[in-house]
Symmetry: C2
Subunit: 197 residues, 2 copies
């Protein structure tokens, strides 16, 4: 079991190494804090009303976060394939109840990091402070562009931009989820695709 966990964090260390260099000893310290979990397709990691008090790193598989309104419509905030992070950051920082579901779209393996553990890990390896700063900086950059796309483009434009940026996700995920991510109806997306193919 220990071997499996070692293997699994490789993806995390890979992405860390792009920003800061960890010694083998420091990597071992990290391993103390992460908790590995396996999530079956359609299982949930977070439910609306719960507080999101962990950081989730996807090692394998694919997760999505989404809200559901009174009418039962789903609105997808994010997809998280291998190497990505996912969570409700507002709930995480404020301690308030989350509004999102986080659910496995495929069978998925994650590494989870409690809020306290994350702080302690960063305290013991200050280099990671830099890693997380840059990670959030990049996440903000992407969200800014997505925000602008979303208010400026129509259905066709938004879909085209998504295909350009994340062709892999468009392949892996049911089409109605793509629609829900773009904020349009499945029917609208179906019709747009018909034109542009």
């Amino acid at each position: 079991m220990a071997i499996r966990i070692d293997q699994m964090l490789e993806l995390f260390f890979q992405s860390v190494s792009k920003r800061v260099a960890l010694t083998p000893e420091e990597e071992d310290i990290c391993r103390e804090f992460f908790v590995a979990k396996k999530i079956r397709k359609r299982q949930f990691i977070l439910r609306p009303g719960e507080v999101c008090d962990t950081t989730i790193f996807v090692e394998k598989g694919l997760l999505r976060s989404y809200t559901v309104d009174e009418r039962g419509h789903e609105y997808i905030l994010q997809f998280a394939p291998e190497g990505w992070w996912i969570g409700d950051l507002y709930s995480f920082t404020s301690g308030e109840a989350s509004i999102y579901n986080i659910e496995a779209v495929e069978d998925t393996e994650i590494q989870q990091l409690g809020k306290e553990d994350e702080e302690e890990m960063i305290a013991r390896i200050p280099k990671l402070e830099r890693f997380f700063r840059i990670k959030f900086l990049n996440a903000c950059a992407a969200l800014q562009r997505r925000m602008t796309l979303n208010i400026s483009e129509n259905t066709a434009g938004k879909y085209a931009a998504l295909v350009r940026s994340y062709p892999d996700i468009v392949q892996r995920v049911p089409q109605h989820m793509i629609a829900s991510y773009l904020g349009v109806s499945p029917e609208a997306l179906s019709r747009v695709r018909k034109q542009t193919v």
Copy 2:
């Protein structure tokens, strides 16, 4: 002139002090890096095509960032009143050309920080790494919620949420800019307001 700059950074130190404690000496180091500027209403700090290679902190007044499409329509990404940061983070991290205008909505005083200077400042005051990490974490949290609002709510819902979150900005800014921030036409916003008042 030196006195003026000292006064102006107070707002920055205030927001830093909520996260990490700086010594007076460290504050002096910060002062070496920031450059104070005054921007008149309708003047630009950034134009599409330029690279956004600075971080902008607003001391006084109000800025906005927005794109313009082929038809001349404006789409506002962000308003930045006193105590807020503004910039094109994607251009900043990637070095690619920006797509945004950053323009003064009111006469404004800013503190600007070059990309290299920011890195050096953080290198000399490692505590700031933590400050900026948390700043971007909170920015991401807000963008996530705004993203969800934008794809799940209609015009009335988006406007109501904005009034709830930032009543001050709704007051200070022309209504057509609020519309442009929400991604709806000025006419649509006008009609929604008529109902709900």
